[in-house]
């Protein structure tokens, strides 16, 4: 047995729940699959099916969205109502007709990244005349980073769509509440 196979056999015995708990182990599993270890794939698929963190990613996206809206709107209850509606329409437009769970998740990510970018832009524009050079640099760096995150979120969705229906993994769909 080659060292790689022996390594796989040992690691295969690790329970899925252990892997879910340990992000490092998950990353190692992904690296093994990336290196061509065929035996890593069934375990990786199992992790994808059982991964409760996946559902939490959508929750995280919604929580981040809510906190950005709160910061943006303050006491303005009308805008507090209006922004989520716009975001919902945006999410639908991005996700398209009958999106796969992964596509829906990535559409969530794109809208959150877009909102973050708008927020940092708004703060910068509002304070433009009161900022020192250091503060201005700080804001511009924040905007640049948010912009990069926004672009990579779009790239991730484009990547999944480019691969087509082959990449349709059941990512604990029942646990994901994507309504709204």
């Amino acid at each position: 047995m080659s060292p790689r196979k022996a390594n796989s056999a040992t690691k295969h015995e690790e329970s899925t729940s252990e892997l879910i708990e340990d992000r490092g182990k998950l990353m190692a599993l992904i690296d093994r699959a990336q290196d061509g270890d065929e035996e890593a794939l069934p375990l990786l698929r199992k992790v994808l099916d059982e991964e409760p963190r996946v559902a939490r990613i959508v929750d995280l996206a919604r929580n981040v969205e809510r906190s950005i809206i709160e910061k943006m709107t303050g006491d303005d209850v009308f805008t507090q109502e209006a922004i989520p509606r716009n975001l919902k329409a945006m999410r639908r437009e991005i996700a398209g007709e009958k999106p796969a769970p992964l596509e829906r998740l990535l559409a969530e990510r794109i809208t959150v990244c877009w909102l973050e970018l708008q927020y940092f832009h708004a703060i910068y524009t509002q304070n433009l005349h009161n900022l020192s050079i250091t503060q201005s640099d700080y804001h511009q760096r924040r905007i640049d980073k948010a912009h990069r995150r926004y672009l990579s979120s779009i790239k991730a969705l484009a990547q999944i769509r480019k691969m087509g229906p082959a990449v349709q993994i059941n990512i604990a769909e029942k646990q994901i509440n994507t309504s709204g």
Partner: protein, 107 residues
């Protein structure tokens, strides 16, 4: 900045500032004039402190927000990568994702 006691008695309010890298002391005055200047300076100092505290708080808020978006991005990137690998794709030189070639029969 502060009150200086004079040899002849009494207090005199002075301000120090930097001009071309050198510290220059400005003698403002004693009595009412000195007190007004001292109050002005105190007000300005508090305003700056409040502004700095507000700026720090804002930075902390932004850091927390940015951290949450980064976490979201990292988690979904991780999922995309796992899904692609599980579907038989492989990343070529950390760039393009390509469908893994099946080994030929008999090999």
């Amino acid at each position: 900045m502060g009150w200086e006691s004079r040899q002849r008695g009494g207090l005199y309010y002075t301000r120090s500032r930097k001009e071309n890298g050198r510290v220059v002391r400005e003698y403002v005055g004693s009595g009412v004039l000195g007190r007004i200047a001292a109050l002005e300076d105190e007000h300005e100092r508090r305003r700056r402190e409040e502004q700095a505290a507000y700026w720090r708080e804002e930075q902390q808020d932004h850091d927390a927000l940015q951290g949450a978006v980064e976490e979201l991005s990292e988690a979904s990137d991780f999922l995309v990568r796992a899904a692609l690998l599980a579907s038989g794709y492989r990343q070529h030189n950390r760039g393009e994702w390509r469908l893994r070639r099946e080994p030929k029969k008999g090999q």
